[in-house]
């Protein structure tokens, strides 16, 4: 019984850390731009396919494949910001979101045409070997890599945001774009940097998810909706909240799969999302802000 609980907890942490990587990208973008990139999911998917083709077709090293996916994600982030968010910035609050819905539909279905609906077998060399842990639980090397890489990345990002000049500049732009501009920070450039970082994270997450999930053009969508839930629960724009919420959702998901019906995990996560929106739309940790009229 304890073994099962521990095992599920480990699985929860593994998936949770991947969700955090994806959700962090969303939350960073929202923090600095107050916009949602709906195509974020597809960057995850494209990252997964990039890593797949790098390893399977080009025979590259898997870890390097993660790096490739990171670069591909970064490039896509640059493109989406340059083509959509930068031009639409002045015009409207909801139009950019709608545009990214369009991009998402386009990307998913273009991939469907090119790659087909049949899942690709993305086997990383680490998927099958297992390490025995305490209490009878175990973890695959793949999952261990996921946890290590995710934790390192998240820690680096956190340090970057809190202690470097650029990180502080990012937070300044998030709080008050105009004033940040007046103080000599280039808000447009920083928004671009944020996008690139966020999308690089998404690409990486895709590369690590590829061997673990079913790899189809819709792979990203299964993760993105949970990522939205995480960002809401943790608080849009709140990095600490997102990390905690991500791990929480990962654990809840594992628990539901184990204790209840696997088909119900989505309902549980989304009911939690709606509950959060009803009670504390600004998230677990973020403070309530009243709009100054």
């Amino acid at each position: 019984m304890l073994t099962v609980a521990l095992q599920q907890s480990i699985n929860g942490v593994v998936f949770g850390s991947l969700y955090v990587l994806v959700a962090l990208g969303l939350t960073l973008i929202y923090g600095v731009l107050v916009q949602i990139n709906f195509a974020h999911a597809d960057i995850v998917t494209i990252g997964a396919f990039a890593a797949y083709f790098f390893t399977a077709a080009l025979g590259g090293n898997y870890i390097a494949g993660i790096g490739v996916a990171l670069l591909v994600g970064a490039a896509l982030g640059w493109l989406v910001n340059a083509a959509i968010f930068a031009p639409l910035r002045e015009r409207s609050e909801l139009l950019p979101l709608i545009a990214t819905i369009g991009v998402s539909i386009l990307l998913q279905n273009a991939m469907l045409l090119l790659l087909g609906p049949i899942p690709y077998a993305f086997d990383s060399p680490y998927s099958n070997e297992v390490i025995r842990l305490w209490g009878g639980t175990f973890i695959t090397w793949q999952n261990l890599i996921i946890v290590i890489v995710s934790t390192l990345t998240i820690a680096l990002l956190y340090a970057f945001m809190k202690w470097t000049f650029m990180g502080k500049a990012l937070r300044a732009v998030a709080q008050d774009r105009e004033t940040a501009g007046l103080v000599g920070i280039n808000p447009g450039g920083l928004v671009m940097l944020t996008f690139v970082i966020a999308s690089a994270l998404a690409g990486m997450a895709g590369a690590m998810l590829g061997p673990v999930l079913v790899l189809t053009p819709f792979a990203g969508t299964t993760v993105i909706v949970k990522a939205f839930a995480i960002v809401i629960i943790g608080g849009f724009g709140n990095v600490e909240g997102t990390i905690i919420a991500g791990l929480l959702v990962g654990l809840i998901e594992s628990a539901t799969t184990q204790l209840v019906n696997p088909g119900l995990t989505d309902i549980v996560v989304f009911s939690l999302l709606l509950l959060m929106l009803a009670v504390r739309p600004t998230g677990l940790i973020a403070e309530k802000r009243e709009e100054n009229v």
Binding site: Y30, V34, Q35, I36, A83, I84, P87, L88, R91, S92, E93, L94, L95, P96, L97, I98, A99, I101, G102, V103, S104, I105, L106, L107, Q108, N109, A110, L112, L113, V225, F228, A229, I232, F236, N261, G263, L264, D266, I267, F270, S271, L273, L274, L277, A278, P281, V293
Partner: protein
């Protein structure tokens, strides 16, 4: 009003309603022009999409609420009406009305829940709502038969008006008249609403809720109203969908459906009501014409939506106005040249 005023008002009244008569005439001729069942089916789906699009435009284009959960109202109407007929033996039209009422109630519930949420949060909440509804339809096997679906759903029963032969809806032509007729009816009703002070109130909420409240507008009540009406129309479409297609599976109502309806509204021109009609027609018929090139339907939707938002956010309606203005200019210049 004097007699002269009276008759002048009367003729304006008729002139304004002329489009109704023209549309009705066009609908009457459609099955005569399109004889094969494939195209008739496409036209019926077009009419369904028109209903979905104008319902969403009422919520999004007029009340300004980014509702990404419209597919859920479609599905609730379809399943509710079908289950009432098959499990409770309810007559079709009563089940139809109940389906509309249930969808409308779901819309109002979502709006009440999300009333205090800002734009993006509302969008995510509506998305979450749609996911939950889809999951319920998928997992509540006892009620909905889950992924296996419900089969052998009958079309609406034949209507026999006194003295006339019975009209059976198993025939695609009659079904087309029925669905397109209802689409026209819903369009008329929504059009009347948006041209009334209710339309003004919704526009005020869309533009600025804070100042709207300062004029006595209870924004929550009116958002709930908009959602209720838009959702009810989607529910009606759902009931027709079930009785036309004959089969009902949960995957017909996944969130992608919300996005396709959104695309129709935006591409047509949100907030104009007639725009989404055009958008629904264009985005239903065009992919059928391009069938030869593989399943490009959704690629087309994605591309159209993105490009319209980036370059012509007012959609087809904006493009039409632009063209009309340019043609007007050319004619002016030509006239002055002489």
């Amino acid at each position: 009003m004097s007699d002269a005023d009276g008759s002048a008002a009367m003729s304006t009244w008729i002139a304004r309603r002329a489009w109704l008569l023209i549309a009705a005439a066009v609908i009457a001729f459609l099955p005569l022009v399109f004889q094969d069942s494939y195209w008739r089916a496409t036209l019926i789906v077009t009419a369904l999409n028109v209903m979905l699009a104008i319902g969403l435009d009422f919520i999004l284009g007029y009340a300004g609420q980014l509702n990404l959960g419209h597919c859920a109202f479609y599905g609730i109407g379809a399943y509710a009406s079908t289950l009432l007929i098959m499990n409770l033996g309810m007559p079709f039209w009563l089940a139809f009305a109940s389906g509309m009422a249930l969808s409308g109630a779901a819309g109002m519930a979502l709006a009440m829940f999300a009333a205090h949420l800002r734009g993006h949060y509302l969008a995510i909440a509506s998305l979450g709502f749609a996911v939950i509804v889809h999951q319920v339809l998928l997992n509540w096997i006892g009620m909905t038969q889950g992924p296996l679906g419900i089969y052998a759903i009958k079309p609406p029963p034949a209507i026999a008006l006194p003295g006339l032969p019975a009209v059976s809806f198993g025939d695609t032509a009659k079904m087309l008249y029925l669905v397109a007729g209802f689409a026209l009816l819903f369009y008329f009703l929504l059009d009347q609403l948006v041209r009334s002070p209710i339309g003004e109130t919704l526009a005020a909420i869309r533009e600025d809720e804070v100042s709207a409240a300062s004029f006595g507008i209870n924004c929550t009540v009116w958002k709930v109203f908009a959602f209720g009406i838009g959702a009810a129309v989607a529910g009606a479409a759902g009931a027709f969908y079930a009785s036309f297609v004959g089969t009902l599976v949960p995957d017909a109502f996944i969130i992608t459906e919300s996005f396709t309806v959104l695309a129709m509204v935006i591409v047509g021109g949100m907030g104009t009501l007639i725009g989404p009609v055009g958008g629904a027609i264009a985005l239903t018929i065009l992919p059928e014409l391009l069938r030869g090139f593989g399943d490009l339907r959704l690629v087309l939707y994605g591309a159209a939506l993105t490009l319209v938002v980036l370059f012509m956010p007012g959609g087809i309606v904006q493009a039409a106005r632009f063209l009309r203005a340019r043609i007007g200019q050319r004619m002016c210049a030509a006239g002055m040249g002489q």
